[in-house]
């Protein structure tokens, strides 16, 4: 059985494309300039794993990493 996923946005890479926020609003939010960061500590609730992978696969800046714990 696979473990829990954790998403993280690299603030040095994010340019505010907001693809992650649009595809997985449960996992990402935007700051006052529109740059994204993970919600809370980035833990992906059960059932949202596909959305996490989708967000990662659509970030043009390759700013999202997903760790499996």
């Amino acid at each position: 059985m696979s473990g829990t996923l954790k998403v993280r946005v690299d603030p040095n890479k994010c340019q505010g494309n907001a693809r992650c926020k649009s595809l997985a609003p449960e996992l990402f939010e935007l700051d006052e300039w529109g740059y994204a960061h993970e919600i809370g500590d980035g833990t992906v609730p059960a059932g949202l794993e596909d959305k996490a992978w989708l967000a990662q696969a659509n970030c043009p800046e390759i700013a999202i990493t997903i760790d499996e714990e």
């Binding site: 340019q15 907001a18 693809r19 529109g34 696969a57 659509n58 800046e61 390759i62």
Partner: protein, 398 residues
């Protein structure tokens, strides 16, 4: 002036204004990608053309070797024109200028304009829906971004044709003649001066007033020149690009009944389809100036040359996008760079996406059946922007 010689060698002598490129650039880029990932031409005083996803991205991220002080590839290279921050800014000034604009174009801010854009689309459709045919580029796709931006700026919608004239002069006619560009810029400065001065007496709640009231990080107001430059950027960058993107999307749907039917049956697919239209028909290429000697994808690049940053070519790179030449409206993995990457990522991206979404959604609701008019050709813009400038459609069932 005489027309430039037709291109016979795209690797060593490309020309992004050649009629073959204008008609259909995709086979040219496919050839270049396999033969030479960074092509070069002596035309336009020396320009490199990266066509792979990797090379385009690398140049975007390398602000040390590549400057944005010039972003349009032209055959004249006078002193850089008056700046239009942040698109013409390099680090460290860039960040300050961009942070002023970013909050105004956040997804939630842009969403507030949605009802207005929906009304604009329906008003335009009302104008031709009872005809059996229409030129969608002239009567629909052009006026959506014009009316959206004039609403944001708080300026008259009826000035739209003036904006189209300036943009045509700056991005097409002015490619070979600097006096045309300088005259257009002067006219724009005079135009916006009137609107800025009026707001000094009577502040409004539109984007022009917001920029006039903006403060930099150290609490300073923007100079009139900065406000002017930002307004020129927003005007020039928001109209032809979105006009092109909506037009190319409709062009595709006009000749692809299966995709039309699917988007009508599965409207929840539209946001994914819009991203695919942005990938497959990316409207804009940007430019950079090489400042220091460097090498990209094995190609030595020398200062004094420009780079034509062909985002549309990068987005057709088959090593990144399987079936890159096919439009797959439910493509799941889509790291397209239609809006650029790195610090110059298009500030208006969310506005453009919203306009595209509403424009296609409303069109399909009211005109589910349409096709290209076989008796009249679709024509495409010339230069660094690609989109239909005449898009004759037949409306209704065959």
């Amino acid at each position: 002036m005489s027309s430039p010689a037709p291109v016979t060698d795209w690797v060593h002598d490309f020309d992004h204004t050649d009629p073959t490129w204008t008609e259909n650039p995709y086979p040219i880029w496919d050839e270049l990608r396999t033969k030479c990932p960074v092509a070069h031409t002596n035309r336009f005083l020396g320009v490199y053309l990266p066509t792979t996803y990797e090379a385009v991205k690398e140049i975007c991220y390398d602000t040390d070797h590549f400057s944005s002080r010039r972003v349009v590839v032209r055959s004249v290279r006078p002193e850089p024109p008056p700046p239009a921050p942040p698109i013409t800014s390099d680090p460290p000034e860039h960040k300050r200028a961009k942070q002023i604009l970013l909050p105004l174009f956040m997804p939630d801010e842009v969403k507030k304009l949605e009802p207005r854009v929906r009304a604009i689309c329906n008003d335009l459709i009302d104008g031709f829906i009872n005809d059996k045919s229409c030129d969608a580029a002239a009567r629909y796709t052009k006026y959506i971004p014009i009316r959206a931006v004039t609403n944001m700026f708080g300026i008259p919608e009826t000035d739209g044709d003036l904006f189209i004239k300036w943009i045509h002069e700056i991005l097409e006619l002015g490619l070979h003649d600097d006096t045309v560009v300088m005259k257009a810029v002067q006219e724009m400065v005079a135009y916006f001066t009137v609107h800025i001065e009026a707001r000094k007496k009577h502040p409004t709640d539109d984007l022009i007033s917001t920029l006039m009231n903006a403060r930099t990080e150290d609490g300073q107001p923007l100079t009139d020149m900065h406000v002017q430059g930002a307004l020129r950027l927003l005007l020039v960058a928001s109209i032809d690009t979105t006009w092109s993107a909506i037009g190319s999307s409709l062009w595709h749907l006009a000749k692809t009944p299966a995709d039309r039917a699917r988007l009508i049956a599965e409207p929840e697919l539209l946001p994914t389809a819009i991203e695919e239209f942005l990938r497959a028909f990316s409207p804009a290429s940007s430019g950079r100036e090489v400042m220091k000697e460097t090498t990209v994808s094995g190609c030595p690049m020398k200062p004094g040359n420009m780079v034509l940053l062909a985002f549309p070519a990068a987005n057709r790179d088959p090593t990144i996008f399987p079936d890159a030449d096919k439009v797959i409206i439910d493509r799941k993995e889509n790291r397209h760079i239609a809006f650029g990457v790195g610090i110059h990522r298009c500030v208006g991206a969310h506005l453009a996406r919203m306009e595209m979404f509403i424009a296609i959604e409303e069109w399909l609701k009211r005109i589910p059946d349409f096709r290209l008019d076989p008796s009249r050709p679709t024509t495409w813009s010339e230069g660094s922007l690609r989109g239909p400038r005449q898009l004759p459609l037949l409306l209704g069932k065959e």
